[in-house]
């Protein structure tokens, strides 16, 4: 259970808060992070029904400044930052290799043509930063990793209201935010983004404030939630996890991420030629287990068009059913019944289009 790293684990500014709350801590990409504070399922339900909060400070914010910023990002990212014209608006994008393989997925926030922030995954942060620096060579930009910032995701139908109860003065800065938009609130950045399929905010604040913010949000009735339920929530919401549902060996076209590609205009970007040349033979679909059991990553899937594999699987606490994302032959269609090999037994599963759950409601 968990992997023992030889290196000293990295800790976020909230590590002491997690220990104090009795969290069960596990290694996550080299970070000592809470998997739950008692019950993963109760934390899952807290986010679907009320409000929960996550320490996501292991993710890395990288500020991008300088006159070349927009041109640089338009070259670097598979989605097009030129779509961002309103300050604070954000965009989800893949970072691709020349061959179309996915280096990482990220969120980019726009503050002005010369000022952006991108937020990348913890496990890929060093690799991403190295890639960003190599690609920055011919652009007049400056990259600033922000390990000085903690990030707290407050998620759930009551998340925004409870956040404002804790910080009434913040209401003015964040009440008008639309989904995928952020605004500065003093030295915080408050963004209406998340990874759960529920409404809420992600707050980036200086490390030295993190423990006090966490305690005040907790006092306002927001449940501390671990990375365990973050995974079941994102999977129900049909969101990919880097390293599991996609990596450098597959393209966004094979990963359910065609919607994030801006390939239709003249703009060139790293990986575009490879994407345009690819006729994908595989696709990422949702699976809903038709019998009792739990779907897991790497289980084999048999279809009438050939074999596939589950990339992420779990027991959905909302649906009380096994759900998964699976990479299947391109000829498989939504509604097909396939078979999953679970310990040598073939169990029936239905192919569905994710998400499984959004805003507290089952969609499959």
């Amino acid at each position: 259970m968990g992997t023992n790293s030889q290196r000293t684990p990295l800790t976020t500014a909230l590590h002491g808060s997690h220990v104090q709350l009795g969290a069960k801590l596990v290694d996550f990409a080299g970070w000592d992070m809470p998997i739950h504070y008692g019950s993963q399922i109760e934390e899952h339900h807290a986010v679907r029904r009320d409000a929960g909060m996550f320490d996501v400070s292991h993710m890395l914010g990288i500020d991008l400044n300088g006159p070349g910023s927009q041109a640089y990002l338009r070259h670097l990212l598979a989605n097009d930052v030129a779509k961002l014209t309103l300050p604070g608006k954000a965009l989800y994008s893949c970072l691709l290799r020349e061959d179309g393989g996915v280096i990482d997925d990220l969120i980019v926030y726009y503050f002005g043509p010369e000022h952006y922030r991108i937020v990348v995954n913890a496990g890929t942060a060093d690799k991403d930063l190295a890639w960003l620096r190599v690609q920055a060579d011919h652009y007049d930009i400056r990259l600033t990793p922000r390990r000085d910032l903690a990030m707290i995701a407050v998620q759930g139908p009551q998340a925004r209201e409870k956040f404002w109860q804790a910080y009434p003065a913040s209401r003015a800065a964040s009440a008008a935010l639309t989904p995928f938009q952020a605004s500065f609130d003093g030295d915080w950045l408050v963004a209406r983004t998340g990874y759960t399929g529920e409404d809420g905010f992600e707050i980036a604040a200086p490390n030295e404030q993190a423990a006090a913010v966490w305690a005040r949000l907790h006092a306002a009735g927001i449940a501390p939630c671990g990375l365990g339920c973050r995974d079941t929530l994102r999977l129900e919401a049909g969101m990919n996890l880097y390293g599991q549902d996609m990596d450098e060996t597959v393209t966004p076209l094979e990963s359910g991420l065609a919607w994030t590609l801006a390939t239709k205009d003249q703009r060139d970007f790293i990986g575009k030629a490879a994407l345009l040349a690819q006729q994908p033979t595989r696709q990422l679909c949702g699976l809903l287990l038709q019998e009792r059991g739990v779907l897991r990553a790497h289980q084999a899937v048999q279809t009438s068009h050939g074999d596939g594999e589950i990339t992420s699987g779990t027991f959905s606490p909302t649906l009380e059913q096994g759900i998964a994302l699976a990479r299947l032959p391109a000829a498989v269609t939504i509604g097909d019944i396939v078979e999953v090999d679970i310990r040598g037994k073939l169990l029936k599963a239905k192919v569905v289009k994710p998400p499984f759950v959004r805003n507290g409601k089952a969609l499959v």
Binding site: I35, Q40, I41, T232, V294
Partner: protein
């Protein structure tokens, strides 16, 4: 650690209890349920199946992971706990009440090879 002294334990975290009718009830320890987290699915052996000590015979799945269960002693499965199948989280609530299955042992003396509560606690705490 919660490990009742009237039970015997396997290093692989099963408990075994000799009943008055000479059958042996099998479950997983409190330490095991704690490590697994919220349990959501059980796969138990069929009644009538003959098991050898150490044989893989059941699976307990939590939201986090699937964990194999091994027969602590040899014997024939004479009952499975349908109530636990229907409500797997009952194991999280009380791992010593929510048993998994019962064996008619081939040789009751095999129980002597299992650990007592104090020795099991040492094994579990060293993990």
């Amino acid at each position: 650690m919660n490990a009742p002294t009237n039970l015997k334990y396997a290093k692989s975290h099963e408990w075994a209890k000799l009943e008055a009718d000479r059958s042996v009830t099998i479950g997983i320890s409190d330490h095991a349920q704690e490590a697994l987290g919220d349990i959501v699915f059980l796969e138990l052996p069929e009644v009538g199946r003959k098991l050898k000590a150490g044989e893989e015979c059941a699976v307990v799945e939590s939201v986090k992971a699937a964990s194999d269960i091994y027969a602590p002693i040899s014997g024939e499965v004479v009952a499975v706990n349908q109530a636990a199948i229907d409500a797997p989280d009952s194991i999280n609530q009380d791992a010593y009440a929510a048993w998994l299955f019962k064996l008619k042992p081939d040789n009751i003396a095999e129980l002597d090879a299992l650990l007592g509560a104090a020795d099991y606690a040492k094994v579990a705490e060293s993990e």
